[in-house]
């Protein structure tokens, strides 16, 4: 078992005919994902990398049984793409697109939730369960099947960390990149219970950033609900207050959301907090050893 995706996940790629859509369709296929359909208005009937393309999501779902979507369409059209997917009955949407206005995302989030659909992202690398399926853009090379779950707000930093886990001979059950935008469809507290319940996951890596309070909320959840060991890392210790560090989410404001506040909360919740990314793999190994020794 894995989290949210598995061998039965049938992936639709919205925006498959764009450059990124095509490139990552190839990568998803190489990973072993069942990419069953693409959707691009006006491009119905074409084929991209062996994947049939439809004009509408409704048609793609009807014809291929797609049950998850990976959205690459440009920001001004992302809201429409998500609504189309949700209305067509898709219940898992990974939104890779960046720069979606948060006012759009508010509507997307609450609409999807109302209809029982889950969004991962936007501005996220997506989700991957080695040996099962990948919906998103995390490089295939960093993975190796295993029993470590990874949840991260970052993109490339996640690759760095996941790769580090692989380099010491461990592997991942599922890795979710939540995205770093101010409004994300799935936050740490939404993702943590999925890993807690996943019998294939023995330990968790939580990768946070300064800004917002998602890590503090995660800490509270870890403290009260999580039985599995957690290794955490927070990026942005050295970031100057008030400077924008790239992600819209990574702003320190009003004395909340600082790296120190997050680290303290996570430590108080019993998580092992790494000071640097390269410390994570060995902390995970130690946590797994301690868990198995019990």
């Amino acid at each position: 078992m894995s989290v949210l995706v598995d061998g039965d996940t049938r992936v639709l790629v919205q925006g498959i005919t764009g450059h990124q859509g095509t490139v990552h369709t190839v990568q998803m296929l190489k990973f072993g994902s069942k990419v069953v359909a693409g959707a691009t208005p006006g491009k119905g009937g074409s084929v991209v990398e062996g994947v049939p393309v439809f004009d509408s999501v409704e048609e793609a779902v009807a014809r291929t049984g797609a049950n998850a979507t990976c959205i690459f369409v440009p920001a001004p059209f992302a809201k429409d793409a998500l609504l189309e997917a949700v209305d067509a009955g898709i219940r898992l949407a990974v939104i890779v697109t960046e720069h979606i206005p948060f006012h759009d995302m508010l509507v997307m989030f609450h609409y999807a939730r109302m209809k029982g659909a889950r969004i991962i992202g936007p501005n996220c690398p997506g989700i991957a369960a080695p040996g099962q399926a990948k919906v998103g853009i995390i490089p295939n090379v960093v993975f190796r099947p295993g029993r470590v779950g990874v949840i991260s707000r970052s993109g490339t930093l996640t690759y760095e960390i996941v790769s580090g886990i692989k380099e010491i001979g461990l592997g991942q059950s599922t890795c979710i990149g939540l995205g770093g935008d101010p409004v994300v469809g799935t936050s740490f507290v939404d993702a943590l219970p999925l890993f807690e319940e996943d019998p294939e996951t023995d330990a968790l890596v939580v990768v946070g950033e300064i800004g917002g309070s998602a890590e503090e909320e995660a800490a509270e959840y870890i403290r009260t609900h999580l039985s599995k060991p957690v290794v955490a890392y927070i990026a942005g210790h050295s970031a100057p207050p008030g400077k924008r560090m790239g992600h819209a989410g990574a702003i320190i404001a009003r004395g909340r959301g600082t790296a120190q506040s997050k680290v303290s909360a996570l430590e108080a919740a019993g998580a092992q907090v790494a000071r640097f990314p390269y410390e994570i793999p060995s902390l995970v190994r130690d946590a797994l050893a301690a868990r198995h020794a019990k």
């Binding site: 960046e98 993109g155 490339t156 770093g180 101010p182 000071r275």
Partner: protein
């Protein structure tokens, strides 16, 4: 994040019908003199520096004048001031109103709830961070329902208003909500909201427009009051470029990896001075541009730390190799490179041809970058 100067925020307020003091933007003492002499701005008046930082009152960037000569004098005193790193180039001249009470209203985003958040307080006119939590009303507003009357009644109870003043705030709340939504604002703050007679007036306006929404609002795309010149150039080229206080340049991809890189450098005693997030690109020319931009910031050393995903290692290596050839000798600097991830081997090979060794570990490469910044050859 497009932070608007007070007068720009007030222009938006005016479009939405939000009550304001009579006011005009001036850029010289002469203008201040003539607008007060002509009566366009009634006396007494307030002369306010149009800067983005807060604390203008305490900082001497707000003055009062009761004659045209005083207005001109105040303008002369404030224009050209350095205020928290900004040079004052514009003033807002406004009539001074008889204020009965100062209140606080704002609309922003509650990230956890994924809802707009209305904050109200009867304690306005001070920094809202200094107001006790018990004196704040935090009201999440659902976008599917909009701002409801019952929510407005809660605000009015919090502000302790009734009668026609309450009615005036009720209408203003609707307008602020419309502006927040329709202008794609990240923040709309009215502090103070002044009770004047039977109504209320927005004495200040802090408006931040979401960067990502400028495709819907091209009018905001040109407003860039809070960027340094190099940051501005970077923005035009679509590169995230931020200047800090140190001397080491960092080129990375992705906000998280960039921040982690800065953290590690600092840990080893380095002082990051500028960083540049390539984001996701597969265009070597963009990498070249970024690198040349970095050169203009005159770093003591540059640490390139890339984990290839969307941005492939070979793309970065190619762009970097092209750039190095173009940097004028006077602008050259030591470079430490680490490229990992997608197409790592191709990238390393390209760099090797350009005479650059890619290190493997984050720790050793950060240490090397710090050493280089302090004069050691990488």
């Amino acid at each position: 994040m497009v932070k608007l100067a007070e007068w720009r925020g007030k222009e938006i307020f005016r479009r939405y019908g939000i009550a304001l003091p009579r006011g005009r933007v001036v850029r010289s003492p002469e203008e201040a003199l003539s607008l007060t002499e002509s009566g366009d701005i009634p006396l007494p008046c307030v002369v306010k520096a149009q800067v983005l930082a807060g604390g203008r009152g305490k900082g001497g960037a707000v003055r009062f004048a009761s004659s045209p000569a005083e207005a001109a004098e105040a303008a002369r005193g404030i224009l050209g001031m350095e205020f928290h790193g900004e040079t004052v180039k514009e003033l807002l001249l406004e009539e001074k109103l008889p204020i009965a009470r100062e209140l606080y209203l704002s609309l922003t985003l509650d990230r956890s709830a994924r809802l707009p958040l209305l904050i109200a307080s009867a304690h306005g006119g001070v920094e809202i961070e200094s107001v006790a939590e018990s004196d704040l009303l935090r009201l999440p507003i659902h976008p599917f329902a909009g701002l409801s009357s019952y929510e407005k009644r809660r605000v009015l109870r919090t502000l302790g208003l009734s009668g026609s003043t309450a009615k005036s705030v009720d209408g203003m709340l609707d307008r602020l909500w419309r502006a927040f939504q329709h202008e794609d604002a990240e923040l709309i703050e009215v502090n103070p909201l002044a009770v004047v007679g039977e109504g209320v007036v927005a004495l200040d306006a802090k408006v931040i427009i979401e960067d990502d929404a400028t495709f819907r609002h091209p009018e905001y795309a040109d407003i860039r009051d809070d960027r340094t010149p190099l940051e501005e150039v970077a923005r035009e080229k679509g590169i995230a470029f931020v200047q800090l206080d140190g001397d080491i340049g960092v080129i990375a991809n992705g906000a998280g990896l960039t921040m982690a890189t800065l953290d590690v450098l600092q840990q080893f005693g380095g002082r990051p001075g500028v960083f540049l997030d390539l984001g996701g690109t597969d265009d070597p020319a963009k990498v070249t541009e970024a690198f040349l931009l970095m050169a203009r910031a005159k770093p003591s050393a540059v640490f390139l730390n890339i984990f290839g995903g969307v941005t492939r290692c070979d793309t970065v290596a190619r762009g970097l190799a092209a750039a190095i050839a173009q940097v004028p000798p006077a602008e050259r600097f030591p470079l430490v490179a680490r490229i990992r991830g997608n197409n790592e081997e191709e990238g390393i090979a390209i760099l090797r041809e350009a005479g650059i060794t890619s290190l493997h570990e984050l720790q050793e490469s950060a240490q090397a970058a710090v050493a280089a910044s302090k004069g050691a050859r990488p």
